[in-house]
């Protein structure tokens, strides 16, 4: 959150007050300065606290993504590859993942419409998809992929369709959550210390 505040404080001088009453003017001016300084102090304190709050919000979102099992250690591995020269590396990888894997998903969709089902082909496509999901740390998506492949192995068409639907749900949920996370992280700006969930 960015706040632009322009502050104007004007001194009030009572024209009816004769000039020779200097001590009175001085006191007013001193009081004015104090008020101005206090205001600026609280304003900057507010902005700093806001920044800390934003970073904390980002950390909270990140913690929950891990606690709820959406992401695993690999995501942290990717974050550690970021630096000043490559500050958005993880977001770039995730964007690439969603773009690339949409092709694989529509491929799976088509292949699941066939009759009879070509389980070998389904397994091959899913192997690729699982690999990419694993590379970004998409834990729940990866788990569904494993289940899907197990159903391929046992030639269970209904199981495949079910787990494919579930996988697509997890895939969509994760996308939304990561979009929010990256947006908040960008808004919060660069941070001095890295937040690392337990």
């Amino acid at each position: 959150m960015r706040v632009c505040v322009s502050v104007e404080l004007r001194g009030y001088i009572n024209p009816s007050t004769p000039c020779h009453t200097t001590p009175h003017c001085t006191i007013s001016f001193a009081l004015l300065t104090t008020i101005q300084t206090s205001f600026l102090f609280f304003l900057s304190h507010f902005l700093i606290m806001d920044k800390i709050h934003s970073h904390r919000q980002v950390a909270v979102i990140k913690h929950s993504l891990f606690d709820q099992g959406y992401l695993d250690e690999q995501f942290i591995q990717l974050e550690e590859l970021q630096d000043d020269a490559n500050p958005n590396f993880v977001e770039e990888i995730v964007t690439l993942y969603y773009r690339d894997s949409s092709r694989l998903i529509s491929n799976l969709d088509h292949t699941l419409e066939r009759n009879p089902l070509d389980f070998n082909k389904l397994d091959t496509i899913m192997h690729q998809f699982k690999g990419s999901s694993s590379s970004i740390g998409a834990k729940k998506v990866k788990a569904e992929c494993t289940l899907f492949r197990e159903y391929c192995r046992t030639r269970n068409g209904e199981g495949c369709r079910r787990s494919f639907q579930q996988m697509k749900k997890e895939y969509a949920i994760l996308r939304k959550k990561l979009e929010t996370y990256f947006q908040m992280a960008r808004q919060a700006g660069p941070k001095e210390t890295a937040f690392r969930p337990k």
Binding site: Q77, L78, I93, G131
Partner: protein
């Protein structure tokens, strides 16, 4: 034609290893490229085994007599790729007089292990792969491999060349152990390691 030893050792003064990475996944290519750049390597990334051979000039299409082999210090390849697998690429590299001394590292997802396909690891190591890495590959894995090669120790260790003794299937458990000892996730597993033990170790490692 450059001598085999020239393409193996890092160029004097350049300080940087030149690594050729091969992976059909766009996401994985981007990640491995970043991992290698952070490890101070010069990186060339290609999307398939055939592209890799093309790059190395091993596709049988050398244009002129004065063909200058590209200098590569390490090749990292994904195992399961459409078309040419990492294993097939490994074999082609080891068949080449120019590039056979270049260390090759094979990367694969744990599927290989859960399917108890130790044959894959075994055969890669038999063919002379330097190491077998579990995907997703970590920075620590890459740093360890590149450090190892920078020290010029690629020829030592458990690399086997085709002219060495072939380990018969009965001793395959020991070769799996060797493979697992070099796999980063299982450093403290007692040998021989079973695939299920490795799997549970991996589960414990995730958050």
């Amino acid at each position: 034609m450059a001598a085999a030893s020239d393409v193996f050792r890092p160029e004097v003064g350049s300080g940087k290893l030149h690594v050729l990475a091969v992976d059909d996944s766009h996401v994985d290519r981007k990640v491995i490229e970043r991992l290698l750049k952070i490890s101070s390597c010069k990186v060339t990334v290609v999307e398939s085994g055939s592209r890799a051979l093309q790059y190395l000039g091993l596709d049988g299409e050398k244009s002129s007599i004065g063909f200058d082999s590209v200098k590569v210090n390490l090749i990292m390849t994904d195992y399961s790729m459409p078309g040419m697998t990492g294993y097939e690429l490994l074999k082609k590299i080891k068949e080449s007089s120019v590039f056979r001394e270049v260390p090759v590292v094979v990367m694969s997802s744990e599927n290989i292990l859960t399917r108890i396909d130790s044959f894959v690891i075994d055969s890669c190591l038999e063919e002379g792969a330097e190491e077998f890495l579990l995907k997703p590959v970590k920075l620590s894995d890459v740093k360890r491999v590149t450090d190892f090669i920078m020290k010029g120790e690629g020829k030592k260790g458990h690399k086997r060349s085709r002219s060495d003794d072939y380990s018969p299937p009965s001793s395959s458990s020991s070769s799996i152990s060797t493979a697992f000892s070099s796999v980063s996730h299982s450093c403290d597993l007692s040998l021989p390691a079973s695939p299920s033990a490795l799997l549970s170790k991996k589960t414990r490692l995730s958050i």
